[in-house]
Symmetry: C2
Subunit: 196 residues, 2 copies
Amino acid sequence: MAKIKVATHGSKKDAILKKAASLFRKKGFASSSMRELAESIGVEAPSLYNHIGSKSELLQDICFKVANDFTLQLREVESSAAGNTGKIEQLIRFHVRMMLQSFDEVYVSNHEWKHLKEPHLSNFLAQRKLYEGKLVQLIREGITEKELKNLHPHVAALTILSAVRGLEFWQRHKKDISTDVLENNMVQHLLNGLTI
Amino acid sequence: MAKIKVATHGSKKDAILKKAASLFRKKGFASSSMRELAESIGVEAPSLYNHIGSKSELLQDICFKVANDFTLQLREVESSAAGNTGKIEQLIRFHVRMMLQSFDEVYVSNHEWKHLKEPHLSNFLAQRKLYEGKLVQLIREGITEKELKNLHPHVAALTILSAVRGLEFWQRHKKDISTDVLENNMVQHLLNGLTI
DNA sequence: ACGCAAAACTAACGGATATTAGTTTTTTAT
DNA sequence: ATAAAAAACTAATATCCGTTAGTTTTGCGT
């Protein structure tokens, strides 16, 4: 009866993916049913299968879209003229923007990846590990070149990645503060510390 | 046939809770079945109900045990003689230790609380909000008293809490580094920053 | 206006789930 | 040793899930 509403320049699958990201974020992948997803779109569950292959495929598409965005940005940062500290700063700012602009998708990618099926699960984890490794290397070089304190590079990388990830809790206060100020605060805290 | 193995000074329910925390962490609450849990203990699923009320109850017990531990520690820190910065440092160190010593439970509390049923869900969130609020207040006072940089207190609190939370990814490297060094690294990074 | 493809629908299947009921075995207390 | 209580078992129920099959409706190109 009802038809799937498509945004301009978006396929029906894209419309489904958007709703799926929202549902998966709110209820978790395993607790979200195709019937619920269909209802949120205004259609019966089997109708979805005219546009998608399976429930798993939705999760894959969401997770890898996010992972690819970050991988792409990392490449861009790496080829920039900035120093190590500057590159790290660029990455922090990108994470902040992504979290605010694609909240549902980033959240799902961060929280629900463990429900990916093989071989996608392994691919995803490998991509994450690669990303993390590159950041560790940036920090390591920063330490070598006396830009950064001599902290354990893995711990520092984890601290940075986790801190930006924590912006998922920021959604409620979104209107209190602009994206710029938020970026600046995170960069200031993570690079220069909290104490005076 | 088989009996539930109980640790010294622990009830059978405690033994179940320990296994449940491990299972829920690995597979997520919604994707963990009572049959799986029973199997990991070496018993049939219905036998569990001689010791517990429901699957939900397991999650509640895990989440509130962790929440209470943190709330209790917060009270202790508040009544200490340390300054604001010192109190924040104590909290960071406690988070690190909790994450390493009660990994499964803290992880489940952090990731699976959304599957709590009312009124427990509301209680849990209220308790978290209270905890977060107290930390924000510590930071606010630190800023007023010129101990801390003038950052947005909410953002700083979120950064700290998220960073320690991120130690869940540290499990793989656990043996690389001692708890003390890890604590020191986190405190140093979050309070004094990464740059020299 | 008409035909065809896209996309909606209804009905249904096989399987998994938490939990209950009822029964048997095991442990504990006297 | 024996009775009572605790805790295991088997069987079963009702519900929900992802997905398929088959059918009807919709909408676009001619």
